[in-house]
Amino acid sequence: MNELITVYSAEVMRRLRSRSFFLGVIFGVIGIAVVMELPRYFQSYDTQNKRMVLAGAPQLRDAARSLLDKDFVIVAEQDAVRAPTPAELRAKKAAALVALTRDRKGVRVVVYAKDPGEISASRLQRDLVPLNLQLASRLNARQVHSLINVPVRIESVASKFGSAAQADSARAIAYILLLLLYILIMVNSQLIMSSVAEEKTSRIAELLVASVNPKALLTGKVAASATLAIAQMVVWVAVAWALGAQTPAGSQGADSSDSSGFSLSGISSTDVAGFVLFFLIGFLQTSTLFAAVGSLINRTEDLGSLSGPLFLPVVGGFIVAISALAVPDSPAVVVTSFIPLIAPFVMFARIVVATVPLWQIGLSLAINIAAIYAIAIAGGRIYRVGMLLYGRTPRPSQIWHAMRTP
């Protein structure tokens, strides 16, 4: 136990002092800030494209203004219906002039835009339908509004969400958490592989395995790496939380479905617990495997070629998990949510967006915890033998032999 603690402490200190750890944390923080702030930036850019000058008869403008308000920003109004010069639009910081006229058939709209590609004609059409109906039917605005807006209520029967908006929000959060899970597992597993490869290539491996039980060495390394990955995750989530908390309510426009930026307020404690649990399971499985394979490396240049095949289940798990966000109960998704190395991603995705039967969660946990044990035993044996194998990369038969040697 003492040697395990010694290896663990030394490994934590080594990693904390390493440039790669700090760069990982800092780049992670920058990445999260970018992911969270980028939509807001695009939102502000989008808002610029919604700045309109409204032109036409005063009655028409009065009726249209309230209808356009929810999607556009009316920056100026004028009676004269004519094409503006670019300078006029620039002076009013408007993207377009919307000219309203009336004829026998109803309202006619001509949009004089700086960039026609940025103007949504369908949105204008949709917004001005009530005005056209009002003019054609001679009903007042309120009557038209009540006729158009048929009340629809969606009641949840089997979903864990009360509304479509809640489900969308959960999917968005799950997507981000899956991405975080993927990055943390990949980055830290590679770091542990590099650390083992460094010990192998620096030839300190023999001194180490003569001084400490290889199992304790491997366990200490994986535990240290898991601790630092969790620390990294805490920093990243704290940054994401802080940035999410800065988002003022309703700052993203009148239509809630249009909201930009990510708010983490929708994460439930079950989601967080699931995230931590499946992170640990996925991390222990993947990092042990990466460490074992790292021990087979003779030159650091071989890291890429040997780690390539190990990425496949992790990348596969991530891709299936993304599909699981849309179809959490499809047979392929359900089956893969039990398979080691893939399940940590897929089952987590299912838990966030669907009501997964408890027996499935339990079975998946049992299979994957058993898999950790099996991988640790096989990985430990490969590691013990691999650390002392120099020269050519061992043949699969040698690896198989190492795994069978108690």
Partner: protein
């Protein structure tokens, strides 16, 4: 007492060790000799538990070597390696902790080794910045920091300059006097000859000869005598000894004689033949025994 009995180890089609046996008394210093590929490193690795034996047995104080016993061993591998970014004192203390030492004991012992091996000016330098010789001294300190009962050193002198080799030699002599059981392999025969109480020469994974230097010499079939001056009369006496063989020599007569040759009568004959200025009976060196054994193999 370390007892290695008929151990075997193979790797696929290669039999690295076929049958090696020796016994080392507690506190003794033992030289394990052999050419490259003879099986020395594999034997050492089996003793420290890196490799399990395929056959035979290894015991320490008449008990199978378990994890606990192994923690009281120290090992300097032939393949040198250190954590390049870890500082010297930190590295030595780390290996002390791995062997069960705690603070403040581990710091005191690390400092003692640093002083003993003249590493004082490098204590806070990352090991990767040290010269090869100094790195090797750090590795020796890592192997010995926990005052092991049994210290196994695979080629400890290779790569060291004469000053550092002398420093290491004196550190090992100090350990020997303190009762540490030492097992060394080296190609520097004169150092082993001075340091070791007993030897085992192995080739192709098998024992060839083993024992103390006196025992190895006793088994040596010939002796060399040096006689001065190199006169024809003295040469004639030596030529008459059965199975005598003249060797190359400068200013003196060198003859290889059978081991059982009785020197007093021979000396009397020489003195009677001419004025003898010098008569030396030269015992075979470890190097001679080694070369002879390897040659036979």
């Amino acid at each position: 007492m370390l007892s290695v009995q008929h151990v075997r180890k193979g790797f696929g089609s290669v039999q690295a060790v076929s049958d090696v046996s020796f016994t080392i008394a507690r506190g003794a210093t033992f030289g394990l000799l052999g050419p490259n590929g003879a099986g020395k490193t594999t034997t050492m690795r089996m003793i420290v538990g890196i490799y399990p034996v395929d056959g035979g047995s290894i015991t320490w104080n008449d008990r199978r070597i378990d994890e606990r016993a192994r923690r009281r061993f120290g090992y300097l591998p032939e393949e040198r390696g250190l954590y390049g970014k870890m500082r010297v004192r930190e590295q030595i203390a780390y290996f002390g902790r791995l062997h069960g030492l705690h603070d403040p004991q581990v710091s005191q012992k690390a400092d003692a080794w640093i002083e003993r091996l003249g590493l004082g000016e490098y204590v806070n330098r990352p090991c990767g910045e040290l010269s090869k010789g100094n790195q090797q001294k750090v590795q020796v300190a890592c192997a010995g920091v926990h005052d092991p009962e049994l210290l196994i050193l695979d080629e400890p002198f290779s790569g060291l300059d004469p000053v550092n080799a002398e420093m290491l030699f004196s550190a090992l002599t100090d350990l020997k006097h303190r009762g540490t059981t030492l097992v060394l392999s080296s190609h520097q025969m004169w150092q082993l000859e001075q340091l070791c109480d007993a030897f085992c020469i192995i080739t192709q994974g098998r024992n060839r000869v083993s024992g103390t230097l006196a025992q190895l010499r006793a088994a040596w079939p010939t002796r060399v005598v040096k006689v001065e001056p190199a006169t024809a009369a003295l040469r004639g006496v030596l030529e008459r000894v059965p199975h005598a063989r003249a060797l190359e020599g400068n200013g003196a007569l060198y003859y290889e004689l059978p081991a059982g040759t009785d020197y007093p009568p021979l000396l009397r004959q020489l003195v009677a033949a001419d004025a003898v200025k010098r008569f030396d009976a030269i015992e075979p060196s470890l190097q001679d025994i080694y070369m002879h054994t390897i040659g036979q193999a």
